[in-house]
Amino acid sequence: MILETRNLSFRYENKGRQILEQFSLQADSNERVGIAAPSGFGKTTLCKLLAGYEQPETGEILLDGKPLQSYKGYCPVQMIWQHPEQAVNPRLRMKSVLEEGDQIDPKLMEKLGIEPDWLNRFPTELSGGELQRFCIARALGKRTRFLLADEISTMLDLITQSQIWHFLIEETQKRGIGMIVVSHDAELVERVCTRVVRMNKQ
């Protein structure tokens, strides 16, 4: 599968700051594309566009030649957010959070180091890093074809970071899931990805 953007332009408000202009990118299912840029270059915005959370002003986003918007129901492009505590409902137990994903393989939890005891807890009773593992597991549903990782390891210690990245590389390779890794950490991107794209300020 190929995820592709053509001449993408975007700004949040009419006549607001131009965040992306004429941005084009192509990513294949069997590669891991890294996007490295300093803060304020529109990395998160690009992720939101690619995952369908926002509509581009001009240009198009195609998944296998079809517009992303034409995929109804479960979106094959899933995004993992930078702040896991905002990405889970504080009133639901972690069990129900995981149930929202698409038939998640129980083996994933073991590989991510999720303890069975955590499933009965509320999000406020877990740390950011522990929550992030749940968010990763939730995004790796059966029908996921592309994974967008937006600064997912910023809040983790180095050992956990390495565990999670090893897991993600192995899992995406095995299942043929394409990955787009966004980070301001150029070294991490260099290490994890098969190809690196740099964003330039207009």
Partner: protein
């Protein structure tokens, strides 16, 4: 240098094992006490309100019996609230009046809260035009003085029980509607709700699983806190003569009639019904505030 030398000593002093154990115990005791107090207060408040309601049901006859052999009696053992100039038992009249007030309060507050909920959700989810219309109505109703609008609606609807309930209901929905609207607007922007949508969940699922659990506590607390307002407004317009008719022993009627006799020294006619009215309002208010504390996630860890 001197301070640096004394610092560790001080810390040791604070964290001796004994102190720590005492703190721990004190903390646990306090936590347990607060929850217990809230629940006891809730039970007392609900018990009082239920007693008034049930009492009012049985006092219907007693409140209207006139007996000139016992007129103008000050409070005594057989007539704890005294009797009035027609020899009616003030205790029975007060309880009956309060129970009418509570029923009006419950009806009006429920009607008002349901209206607020529907309008709040409509304004937050049905697009810009709906939002503009509902917000305009909220501003309109809030802009007119409460009492004036209440009297207007009440008189236009033919006074009596129906007029009072409609009047109170139609003037009290605004702040709760605004709250619900804001809450839904905020929820819609939450990342976890957008993510649920991308995970292929239907709007109904999101509403039931993500939105309702957030809105329900707000709604219930808003509803309970509407009761005291409704009761006070009901008695004020009745007191002013625009509410319930004179034959009904409503608390507003009792108070306005007692005004004429207050100057002749019959203080018990206004004092006891007034105190009872305040007690009822305070009961509803504490119930609401305590419910808020129990349901509010922010105070869970207190």
């Amino acid at each position: 240098m001197k301070e640096a030398a004394t610092f560790p000593e001080k810390r040791l002093d604070v964290y001796t094992e004994k102190n720590f154990a005492e703190n721990e115990e004190g903390y646990r005791k306090k936590k347990w006490n607060r929850r217990k107090t809230i629940i006891v207060l809730l039970i007392v408040a609900i018990g009082f309100l239920a007693a008034v309601c049930i009492g009012g049901f049985f006092c219907k006859e007693a409140a209207q019996v006139t007996d000139f052999s016992r007129k103008n009696l000050p409070p005594c053992l057989s007539y704890p609230f005294g009797t009035d100039w027609l020899g009616r038992d003030m205790f029975a009249r007060t309880v009956r009046g309060l129970s009418i007030s509570i029923i009006i309060g419950v009806c009006a507050a429920t009607f008002s809260a349901v209206m607020a909920f529907i309008l709040g959700v409509v304004s937050a989810t049905m697009g810009k035009t709906a939002d503009a219309v509902v917000t305009w109505f909220i501003d309109l109703v809030m802009g007119i003085p409460h009492m004036l609008l209440l009297i207007l609606i009440c008189v236009a609807c033919g006074r009596g029980l129906k007029g009072v309930i409609l009047g109170v209901a139609l003037t009290h929905w605004t702040s709760l509607a605004r709250l619900i609207r804001g809450e839904v607007l905020q929820l819609k922007e939450q990342i976890y709700i957008k993510t649920a949508k991308k995970l292929g969940k239907s709007n109904l699922y999101i509403a039931m699983k993500h939105m309702v659990p957030h809105l329900l506590p707000q709604f219930i607390v808003g509803l309970v806190l509407l009761f005291p307002h409704a009761i006070l407004h009901e008695s004020s317009i009745t007191f002013l003569g625009f509410g319930l008719s004179n034959e009904q022993p409503a608390i507003g009627i009792i108070l306005s009639e007692a005004m004429k006799y207050l100057v002749t020294g019959k203080w018990w006619l206004a004092l006891f019904p007034g105190i009872m009215l305040i007690l009822t309002v305070v009961c509803f208010f504490t119930t609401g505030e305590n419910l808020r504390m129990l349901l509010d996630p922010a105070s869970v860890h207190e």
